[in-house]
Amino acid sequence: MDRQFITRGVKRCSTGKFLLWLGPWAAMLLFGLYCAGLCLVKGLNQTNMDNRFVFGLWIFLDLTVIALGAGAFFTGFLVYILKVEELKSVINSAVVIGLVCYSGAVCILMVDVGQPLRAWFTFWYPNVHSMLTEVTFCISCYLMVLFIEYLPIALKNRKLREVPSFLVFEHEMHKVMYVLAGVGTFLSFFHQGSLGGLYGVLRGRPFAFREGLGIWPTTFFLFILSAAAVGPSFILLTTWMVEKIAGKRLVRPGTLQLLGRISGLLLAVYVLLKTVDTIVWINRTSPGSGFPAEQFYAWKPFGTWILFAEIGLFGIVPAIVMLTPKLRARTGWLVSAAAMASVGVALNRFVQTVQTLSVPTLSFDKFMTYSPSWQETGTFLAVVAYGVLVYSFSFRYFRVFPEERELAFQAAQTEEDPALLRI
């Protein structure tokens, strides 16, 4: 019955089935909103964070989703600035993912701070020395950019484009898309970096502290690089997942492989630089603060295995897989490598937030443990549900994958020849 809103030439399930799909996610969203409400009304004592674990599940997952959502800016950069035309098929999806990732992260941040009504203080009394000021400004601006980038996708809806002014607006927007992409890249460069800088500047936490270039610690650059590396991987992963769930071909096979290659290349560079950075940290930075680096890894359960897992198993291994053409051609390998790359970046964010806070700085302190409360988990699940709901809605009614129609037409033609079909 909402057929008229759905793009011509593509198949979508019935409205009833769609609502059935939305049902559990909506329920999860409601539950999550209840959890968030508890935290806002009763206070942050609803979480398991405490004076020693001041950042917990939310900050860790915020950093992770922002890194994963980096596909939005990076793909935009590749498509509109570097003119990599093949990626045009995933740019819309990347924007939607970026939008849900960033808006979700900002929503969680509003619950995470003790005084959400004072959020405007950062804009009014900014501290130019603080990385967090930078993060706040850049993320707020970039979120606006993402909304603006999302508008054309929405306005291209079959029904909405019947309104002439929308069509004109969308057309004009498209002309300046490269400006938006440029601004987005610039802003992302800085906020991805300063998210890394958040921990790199903490001279009181020798586990996280790094020297750097000028005012920027090395983690600034490493975070940008890892975000740029994992962005395409995550787009690859999500595109594959949506193809599987929707049961349709949405992009040409070569697109996923291109994403994999880009991701693998950047991941390899990142792993190299990260290794160098780690070696410098072990031999110079950490001992210079009076903290021999080995002692950090003597606190069980965070042994050196976590370092090798981050750089090796979830770093160089997926990079190699994605750089090897034979492996890249096999979807199973490609998608697994993309997933591992995502896990690797998540592990890196985990190490920067949770592990940093768990290792003691004072000699009479213990190793700290933390596990999130159900309210914290629920709030995060609300973001996941919100993301799925927005993406589902966008996928159903907007042309999130521009090549889908063409591929569907081709598939219809080759229906007699299933050998040509490849999922």
Binding site: G114, Q115, P126, S130, P206, P292, L362
Partner: protein
Amino acid sequence: MIAANGNNKAKRYGMTIDVDRCTGCGACMVACAVENNVPPAHEGATDRKGITWIRVFKVDNGEDYPDKRTVFLPVLCQQCGEDTPCVHVCPQQAVDVDPATGIVGQMPERCLGCRYCMAACPYHARYFNWWDPEWPAGMEKTLNPDVAPRMRGVVEKCNFCHGRWHAAKQRAAAAGKKEIQPGDYVPACVEACPAAAIRFGDLNDPAAEVARGAKDPASFRLLEKLHTEPKIYYSSRRDWVRRIGDAPRPPMGKENPRG
């Protein structure tokens, strides 16, 4: 922020704490809470969720009887003088170093509650209000009128009883003097310590006891290699106690002693 008066030399208030004298009685912890209107623990509070602007730790040398030795160590905001970690990281400039006194001040009214400063502080001297403050019925009558109680969601920490500094300045002004008389401004913990283990004064004043104590070879500061230049000097005649200020040593198979 109060600009340094050109006539007066800027002060650098600091403390020397003789840990050989500290008996771990906790009078300082309680006097601080009384002075600064820190509420009693909420029902769900633990030692990781409570608010103790000054906190006494029981530290031992890791040995067993009969070689076990113990010391009590009061830890409060170290009032870092150099590259103060919390000042640099606050996105709202809710923390500043007062150039006239050297005190690192926290403005709970501007605090957003992002807790970044708490992550930055290596001494864990900052505390978050996880709950709204609650006093038993009637006990709010005993609150100190010179200090504003904080609501939940903001960070607070020791500020060397800044309210007492203001009161001392007013007394000096009323007496027609430009400077606070030494001894007229004393934080609550210093006043309360029954063992007189904590001394307070101006580190820039060569005649002050704290200035001499700071130069004593038996004195040490916590995590000196981080170069935060804290203004709290601890002193002990015992070698193993002086090493407490170094980086942690993970347990090699032995249970880490209670701290």
